[in-house]
C-alpha cells in the first residue's frame, strides 16, 4: 500500500475502535456588532485599532481621495500600482514627478523592480474594526500579493462601507470567493521576538498609510 492508503487506513482504524464524538457546532459567538458597518462608531474603532498598530490614517470623502494619496506619497520617488486601480488614483500616485509602474498578473514587475520601488497604492476588499484588519483578495484594483509586500510604504484605500465590526461579517464576504489569494493586514510588519519588545517593520512594508473614504 502507498502512504496515502496507509495513512487513511490508520486514521479510519483509529476512529473505528473508539469514534470521536461529532458535536453540533454551537456558534453562539458574536456574528454582528451592535453598530452598522461603516457607521461612525465602527470607523472610530477602526481608526483607533489601526493607530495602535502605528498605521497612519486619514479620513476623507470621495472628492478628497486623490489629494490624500498624493500627500501620503510626498517625498517618495517611485510607486507601483495594480493595473485595475482607478485612473485618477494612478494619476495622483504620479504627481510631483514620481515614477509610476503598473503591475498585473499578465505583466509582472520583477522582484528587483519591486525592491527598487518606494511605495504601492491599492484598494481593499473588506476590513474588520474589532481587530483593525484590512483584507486584500488579489483582484485587479488590489494587485498581486508581491506588490503590497516588497515596497516599503503601502497606501491602501478603504471604503467606510466596507468596514465591518466583526470577523464573521468579513469572512462571510470573503467566503463568496474563498479560493482567491487573500492577505489580511493588521500591520505594518512587526516583530516581538526580542524580549517581546514590539518593533514595527521587519520584512514587509514598514509604513502602512490608510485612506478611509466616507
Amino acid at each position: 500500500m502507498g502512504a496515502r492508503e496507509d495513512i487513511l487506513a490508520a486514521v479510519r482504524g483509529a476512529l473505528k475502535d473508539s469514534p470521536y464524538p461529532t458535536p453540533e457546532v454551537e456558534r453562539n459567538y458574536r456574528m454582528e456588532g451592535t453598530d452598522a458597518p461603516g457607521s461612525e462608531p465602527v470607523i472610530a474603532d477602526m481608526i483607533e485599532k489601526l493607530e495602535d498598530y502605528n498605521a497612519v490614517v486619514v479620513r476623507t470623502n470621495e472628492a478628497g481621495i486623490e489629494d490624500v494619496i498624493a500627500d501620503f506619497l510626498k517625498g517618495l520617488n517611485s510607486v507601483v500600482v495594480p493595473h485595475g486601480l482607478k485612473d485618477s488614483w494612478k494619476e495622483a500616485a504620479g504627481r510631483d514627478g514620481r515614477t509610476v509602474r503598473e503591475d498585473s498578473r499578465e505583466a509582472n514587475l520583477t522582484h528587483k523592480e519591486l525592491d527598487e520601488t518606494d511605495a504601492v497604492v491599492t484598494a481593499s476588499r473588506v476590513a474588520i474594526s474589532l481587530s483593525g484588519t484590512i483584507i486584500l483578495d488579489g483582484e485587479p484594483d488590489q494587485g498581486r500579493r508581491a506588490i503590497t509586500l516588497v515596497p516599503d510604504t503601502h497606501v491602501v484605500v478603504l471604503r467606510a462601507s466596507d468596514v465591518y465590526p466583526t470577523v464573521p461579517q468579513a469572512v462571510r464576504i470573503l467566503s463568496e470567493n474563498p479560493t482567491r489569494p487573500t492577505t489580511w493586514i493588521a500591520g505594518p510588519s512587526a516583530t516581538a521576538d526580542i524580549e517581546l519588545v514590539r518593533v514595527a517593520g521587519v520584512h514587509g512594508p514598514r509604513n502602512l498609510r490608510v485612506v478611509i473614504v466616507d
Partner: protein, 542 residues
C-alpha cells in the same frame, strides 16, 4: 525503571544497572542538549528525561531570568486582549466543537482537502513519517536543482528535522523568522513554539549576530530595533533570489482547499509569494471543515499566542493562482504518529492543538525550567501530552515517559487553552497508562513508598503512630520549616522539592483535646483544621 522523582539514579547505584537503556541516537553525551552539541537526530526525543533536563536548565539563571520576564509580559498582554472579548468562552466552545468534529470526520476531510488542492493546480503528497516527508521534499528540491531554500517558521519542519536532513545533502534551508534566525545562527534549539528564542536576551542576540551573520552591520547595538533591521537587511537578498520556499500551515480548510499562515514580520508572505515553487508540510490534524471556521480561529489564535488583537499578516491560498505567487505548489500531508495519537480515546484531544503556546506562558513548571528541559521540539504542557503520544513513549526506558509528570496539575494550561484541551486531565490519564504499562519487575522506590503509605493510611493505629513520628519532622525542618535534604527513599521527593514541616499538633490531637474539654466538635459551626482556628471557635462559643 526511571521515574520523575529521580529514583532510578539511586536504584541504579544499588543494582549496578544503568538507569535508562542507552539507545543510539537517543541519548547524547550530556543529560540534556546544550548549546554547541550537534543538533539531535530525533527532535521529538533529544536525549535525557525531563528531570535530568530540568536539573541542567534550572542552573541557568540567565535563561530563567530572560524567560520569567518574557512569560510575564506575554501573559499580561494576553489577559488584556482576552478580557476585551465578551464572547471569548463562546469562541472557545465553538473551536473545541469544530476540532472534535474535524477529528471525527478526518478521513473524508483529508480526501476533500486533497481534491480541492488538486483542482486548483496543486500537487498533494502523503508522508507516513518524518523520513518520508524529508525524502519527498528532497526529491522536489533535486528536481528544481537548488542548493538554497527559504522557509517560514514551522513546528512541523522542526518535528521532522528537515533543516538537518537537507544540510546533510548539501542544501541550506534559511530560517527567515527573526526568532528562528537567532536560534539557527546561534546553533541553538528553539525553546518555545511561538517565540523560539524566548530564552535569549538582546545582549546575547547581538553577540550571536556579530559572530555568525556575515553581513552584520558594524557597531551593532543591543537594541531590538537595530537587531531586527540587521535581520531585514540580511534576509532581503535571500528572499528576492529564492526559487523554492518551504512552509507549514496554521490551518487547512477542507471545503475549499485553502491553506493559511498567520505571522507577524512579513517573512512568511515573502516565502509564500516570491519563489516559483512552494512546498507546505502540514500535519494531518491541522484541518477545519469549512471556510466559515476560520472566523473562530482568527479570533482565538493571535490573542492567545502573542496577546495581539490580530497578527500583522495572515495569508490564505488555494493551489496556484496564475500570474500571482508560486506557480508550483506541493502539499505534503504528514502523519508521523498522529493516527496513533488519534486512537487514544482520551489523549487524542491533544491533536486539537492550534500551537498558540498559551499553555507554556502560564505554566509554572515551564517558566522555571525553560523549553530545553523537555528535550523535544514540543515543550510545555502541550508537549508533555503530545510528545509521548506521538512517539508512543510509555515505557520506563523511554525518556519521554517522564513528560506527563512535568506538571503541578495546577490547571492553568487548561484554562488558557483557546480550544479547551483538557491538558491536566490528559496528563493524569497518561500517568495512569505509564504506570499500567510498567507493572511487574523490580519495584521502584516510588512503588515501595506507595505500598507502605497505603498500608499505613488504611490502618488507624498505624496512622496515629505515623502522625506522632511525623512531629520529628519539625526538628529536621528547622527554622524555615522546610525539609529539603533527607536520605533515601524520601530523597526521591526532596531532591526536586521541599517538604513543609508537619504541624505542631495533629488533627487527632486537636480533636481529642476538644472532646476532653466537653465541646461537640462534630456540631461546630466551622470545622477548624488548625489549632489557630480552634481558638477562634472557642472564643465564639464563649
Amino acid at each position: 525503571m526511571s521515574t520523575f522523582l529521580g529514583i532510578p539514579k539511586v536504584l541504579s547505584k544499588i543494582t549496578g544497572a544503568p538507569a535508562t537503556k542507552a539507545e543510539p541516537g537517543v541519548r547524547g553525551t550530556h543529560h540534556q542538549w546544550v548549546n554547541g552539541d550537534p543538533i539531535p537526530e530525533n527532535t521529538l526525543r533529544w536525549g535525557a528525561s525531563f528531570p535530568e533536563g530540568a536539573e541542567v536548565t534550572l542552573k541557568n539563571t540567565q535563561m530563567r531570568k530572560n524567560l520569567g520576564y518574557a512569560t510575564t509580559t506575554i501573559r499580561n498582554k494576553r489577559n488584556a486582549r482576552v478580557e476585551e472579548m465578551p464572547d471569548w468562552q463562546d469562541l472557545r466552545n465553538a473551536a473545541s466543537q469544530i476540532k472534535s468534529s474535524t477529528m471525527s470526520r478526518l478521513p473524508e476531510l483529508l480526501v476533500q482537502m486533497e481534491e480541492n488542492v488538486k483542482a486548483h493546480g496543486g500537487i498533494v503528497h502523503w508522508a507516513r513519517d518524518a523520513k518520508e516527508a524529508n525524502e519527498i521534499i528532497y526529491s522536489i528540491l533535486q528536481e528544481k536543482q537548488v542548493t538554497e531554500v527559504v522557509k517560514v517558521k514551522s513546528m512541523v519542519t522542526q518535528e521532522i528535522n528537515m533543516n538537518e536532513y537537507l544540510a546533510e545533502r548539501g542544501i541550506d534551508a534559511f530560517e527567515t523568522d527573526l526568532a528562528e534566525l537567532i536560534v539557527q545562527l546561534g546553533k541553538d534549539m528553539p525553546s518555545h513554539i511561538v517565540v523560539p528564542a524566548i530564552h535569549r536576551n538582546r545582549a546575547e542576540i547581538k553577540e550571536i549576530f556579530e559572530r555568525e551573520m556575515e553581513d552584520a552591520p558594524e557597531h551593532l547595538e543591543a537594541d531590538p530595533r537595530a537587531l531586527a533591521m540587521a535581520a531585514r537587511a540580511h534576509l532581503r537578498a535571500k528572499f528576492l533570489k529564492a526559487k523554492v520556499a518551504i512552509s507549514g500551515s496554521n490551518m487547512m480548510v477542507a471545503d475549499t482547499g485553502a491553506l493559511s499562515v498567520y505571522e507577524s514580520e512579513g517573512n512568511g508572505r515573502m516565502c509564500l509569494t516570491l519563489p516559483e515553487t512552494l512546498i507546505s508540510v502540514v500535519g494531518i490534524e491541522k484541518m477545519v471543515p469549512s471556510y466559515e471556521d476560520i472566523e473562530v480561529f482568527s479570533q482565538l489564535l493571535p490573542r492567545s499566542a502573542t496577546g495581539e488583537r490580530m497578527n500583522p499578516y495572515t495569508s490564505f491560498w488555494t493551489g496556484v493562482t496564475p500570474g500571482d505567487g508560486p506557480q508550483e505548489f506541493h502539499l505534503i500531508l504528514l502523519d508521523n504518529g498522529r493516527s496513533k495519537t488519534l486512537a487514544n480515546a482520551v489523549g487524542r484531544e491533544a491533536l486539537n492543538c492550534i500551537r498558540c503556546g498559551a499553555c507554556m506562558n502560564v505554566c509554572p513548571v515551564y517558566e522555571h525550567v525553560g523549553g530545553h528541559a523537555y528535550n523535544s521540539v514540543y515543550p510545555g504542557p502541550i508537549g508533555a501530552i503530545l510528545t509521548p503520544q506521538l512517539l508512543d513513549g510509555r515505557d520506563h526506558h523511554d525518556p519521554v515517559h517522564t513528560l506527563p509528570y512535568a506538571s503541578t496539575l495546577c490547571g492553568a494550561c487548561g484554562d488558557a487553552c483557546p480550544v479547551k484541551i483538557d491538558i491536566p486531565g490528559i496528563l493524569v490519564h497518561l500517568r495512569h497508562e505509564i504506570t499500567e504499562r510498567n507493572r511487574g519487575g523490580i519495584p521502584s522506590g516510588w512503588d515501595i513508598g506507595m505500598k507502605v503509605s497505603s498500608k499505613v493510611m488504611g490502618n488507624g493505629k498505624l496512622w496515629g503512630t505515623a502522625e506522632k513520628a511525623a512531629k520529628l519532622g519539625r526538628i529536621v525542618a528547622g527554622k524555615d520549616e522546610r525539609i529539603s535534604n533527607v536520605p533515601w527513599p524520601v530523597s526521591a521527593w526532596t531532591r526536586n522539592k521541599d517538604i513543609p514541616a508537619p504541624p505542631a499538633r495533629s488533627f487527632r490531637d486537636w480533636l481529642a483535646d476538644e472532646e476532653k474539654a466537653g465541646h461537640e466538635p462534630t456540631k461546630a459551626k466551622a470545622t477548624p483544621a488548625k489549632p489557630a482556628g480552634a481558638h477562634a471557635a472557642k472564643k465564639e462559643e464563649n
